[in-house]
């Protein structure tokens, strides 16, 4: 009899448990819907999806496709960070360069890049190169904007005092600008990772010969929701892990001057 209030109290004190409960309830609803309501051609219950993960990974070509997609994501992310850093610093450090080029960058960023996806395929082919290029085109802008904002937010007094104490241009860059840029740099990396994921996955779904897009199309056309859901869960897990890594890095490195 006293179990109910006890559970209630635990739930009230630990929202995490309640959150877990919500997820479990949703999974149960999905299980019931898939088993008794929806046509098995279109939806399969989570238990079966979970059991099929092994079969998905065992499908001829799927592990290689996941490797390719991961490779595309990694290369696109690194390229975005490097290009974003170079453009962001060269634009942000000089006030004239910033004022003259920022509107152009914002204009390009505001463009719906998805419309030029077919062009990327034409220019870079249907292999990994087009996915990487499209991922970079999505990932580079948030990083540039974050770095420009970070450089801009440095208090002028810090620069003036560093210079009055005889710091060279390199010293100012190394000891004032870089440390101050770190929080916004990591914030930009997080947004960039979101963009890269979006770009690469869009391009993969659009056309793919060996990547995961090939298999999502195949499973969809064969009305095989079990394996489709399995593959999507694996990819979602991959995306969550990648996002979490950059988010942790942001929290860790963004802390020191948040006060």
């Amino acid at each position: 009899m006293s179990a109910v209030p006890a559970i209630r109290r635990t739930l009230l004190r630990h929202p995490g448990w309640a959150r877990l409960g919500v997820v479990v309830v949703l999974l149960c609803l999905w299980e019931i819907a898939a088993r008794f309501v929806v046509d098995p051609m279109f939806l399969s219950p989570p238990s079966r999806v979970f059991a099929s993960l092994g079969a998905v990974l065992g499908t001829q070509g799927v592990p290689a496709a996941l490797r390719i997609t991961f490779f595309e994501l990694a290369v696109a992310f690194v390229l975005s960070v490097v290009i974003g850093l170079v453009i962001g610093l060269s634009v942000g450090l000089q006030s004239f360069a910033r004022r003259s080029t920022m509107p152009i960058i914002l204009l390009l960023y505001g463009m719906p890049q998805i419309t030029i996806l077919p062009l990327f395929i034409l220019f870079f082919g249907i292999g990994a190169a087009s996915k990487i290029a499209f991922g970079v085109s999505h990932g580079v802008f948030p990083i540039v904007l974050a770095i420009v904002a970070g450089v801009q937010n440095i208090k002028p007094i810090l620069l003036t005092s560093a210079r009055s104490m005889g710091a060279s241009r390199w010293h100012v860059l190394r000891y004032v600008i870089f440390p101050h840029m770190i929080p916004s740099f990591f914030a930009g990396m997080r947004l960039g990772m979101t963009g890269v994921l979006l770009g690469v996955l869009l391009a993969e779904l659009y056309v793919s010969t060996a990547g995961i897009g090939h298999f999502t199309t195949q499973f969809t056309q064969n009305f095989d929701p079990t394996r489709l859901l399995g593959l999507i869960s694996i990819l979602a897990a991959m995306a969550i892990v990648l996002n979490e890594i950059v988010r942790r890095a942001e929290v860790r490195f963004g802390r020191w001057h948040s006060s």
Partner: protein
Amino acid sequence: MASRRDKRDKWASRAVQAGFLVALALAWYLATTRWGVSHLLLPNPLRVLQQLGDILRSGEFVGDLRITLTELAAAFAISATSGVTVGYLLSRSPYLVRVFEPLLAGVYAVPIILFLPLYVLFFGLGPASKIALGATISFFPIVLNTLAGFAHVERTFVAAARSMGASDYHLFRYVLLPAALPVILTGLRMGFTVALLSIIGSETIASLAGLGHRIVNLAESMEMPRMFAYIAFVVVIAALLNTIVSTIEARWTRER
């Protein structure tokens, strides 16, 4: 002195921007006429312009534009009503906020475009799958912003209004809503933008009609000038829609 220099700087940066655009157009023109870049990769800008004129004059774009805009309107209507309602209801209890906010934020971090094949399986290749995907993707920024807007209203304001005898309705109308509106409007704007992007995106990937579908069709039949013209058309439409939404957001936020 300073203001004159500022003005000169402003003109100079405008000149750099204009120069950049002119140089880009010139490079494009020279690349296609002089430098021998394949016409299949980069069509002559003059022909693109001509095709654009043809598209606008013949009214060929109307059908695709109507489909895309209908999908957008349906998706945004669904996500805006459900997002604002769910966000408001959850925000009424700090406990529910603590339970659901991380959950919603966690799902928001997953690229939902991944589920497109599933939506196509459920809803077919027609507009329904685009509406469903657009509504799902735009639901999250709207619900999260509504939640943040209502849940983080300054406690003192609520207590002050209560102590002065405000009813539930008065509290909502004069305290909660004005405080939360700017944040909610930002969420709605973000939701609108991502809904537009995801609808064009899903039309590009798998569809029967719509602007994204048209671009892919032209790309596959290698009609490059016309495809470029359509891309320009879509970019202008998207910019127009985004400007309208941002203007509405700015005006409502200011009037408060």
